[in-house]
Every structure is written in C-alpha cells, then in structure tokens.
Amino acid sequence: SQQGEEDPQALSIQEGENATMNCSYKTSINNLQWYRQNSGRGLVHLILIRSNEREKHSGRLRVTLDTSKKSSSLLITASRAADTASYFCATAPVSGTYKYIFGTGTRLKVLA
C-alpha cells in the first residue's frame, strides 16, 4: 500500500453526526496535512499538524497525530451537508525533497 492511506474509503452519515477519517503512512514525516476536495474542483487545505504536535483544532475540525503508530485522524464535528466532499491526507517526508505524498482519499457524504 502507498504512503498516506485513508480509511474508510467512503463514509455516509446524517447531518449533525461526527465524521472520523483515518490516515496511515509509512515513513517519518515533517508534517501531515488534510485537504478537502469538492466534486470536480481542486483541493483546499484544511489543517497542518507538525510531527512534534499531537492534536490540533480548527473550528469544527480536530486532527490528531500519533507518530509512533504512523497514523492521523480527522474528526469533523456536527457535520453539515456542505461537508460532503473527499478528504485527503498528505505527508511531507523527512527524507525529502519538496514532494508531498497524497493518499487516495475518503469520500464523505452527509445526508440532510
């Protein structure tokens, strides 16, 4: 499997519920970022968490990072129909270059 694997691949919830998405990666990282992509559009940056941080909040978003398990989770609280989108994690490996490694994404559908 590739660096930055999101789980689940697809998620369907009711408006007002919380949505949790997970990301696993393989190599040591400088930081991990989450992006949202509405259908047919480009990606929008949501939040960046550095390797020395464990948790970060932004509005209704909460991101955790566990470097020992090489995993991250994105929690969207009190979801809205407008949150319907695909969500991607992207890692910036320590070894690197300027490359960011994106996962294959979680498709979230929030039902009104």
Binding site: G42, R50, A90, T97, Y98
Partner: protein, 114 residues
C-alpha cells in the same frame, strides 16, 4: 486570497497532438506542482519546480515535460498525447520551505484524449 488559475476546466484533444496546460499563481510562491488525479489512485506527482527554470521529475514524468520561464507560470506539456493521459490535471503552488507549507490548488483541467 491565493489564487491558482488553470487555463481550461475542460479540454478535448486527439491522440498525437501536443497539448499545453497552463497554470498561473498570484502569490509569488517559489514552488509549483503538477499532479494527475485518477479514480482509486489519488494524486500522483508529475513534475514540480522550486524556482524559475528549475524542475524535478515526480513519480510519473513519462510522456510529459514542463516549462517555467516566469515565477508565476508553470506549464505542463504532453508531447504526443495518448488516450492513457486522459485524466484530471491539478496544478498547485506553495512557499519554499520544504514540505512545511500548505499547497494551494487550482480547480483542475479535465483532459480527454480521443
């Protein structure tokens, strides 16, 4: 707000044609990137550029080339288009610090090669 503009949202070309995809950013970002996005494969990096006239191959550079003559503009060139290059192409830009800056994306070009 950062704006990354891709010249076309939709493009249809024929096999063998030389295809140019243009991307312009207005935030004086040093880094620019071209990705392709295919169902089930996520985003794959084709090329990136960290300065004017500087470029590095990404994971799937075969069949593509790039040009960066000015800081704000990064062009992707399909030298001889083939049907397996039908895809969504995304351009992105960021400030220079390696991997520590968020990327800003354009809205993508959905390219069909017939």
């Amino acid at each position: 707000d950062v704006k990354v503009t891709q010249s076309s949202r939709y493009l249809v070309k024929r096999t063998g044609e030389k295809v140019f995809l243009e991307c312009v950013q207005d935030m004086d970002h040093e880094n620019m990137f071209w990705y392709r996005q295919d169902p089930g494969l996520g985003l794959r990096l084709i090329y990136f550029s960290y300065d004017v006239k500087m470029k590095e191959k990404g994971d799937i550079p075969e069949g593509y080339s790039v040009s960066r003559e000015k800081k704000e503009r990064f062009s992707l060139i399909l030298e001889s288009a083939s049907t397996n290059q039908t895809s969504m192409y995304l351009c992105a830009s960021s400030f220079a610090a390696r991997g520590s800056q968020p990327q800003h994306f354009g809205d993508g070009t959905r390219l069909s090669i017939l």
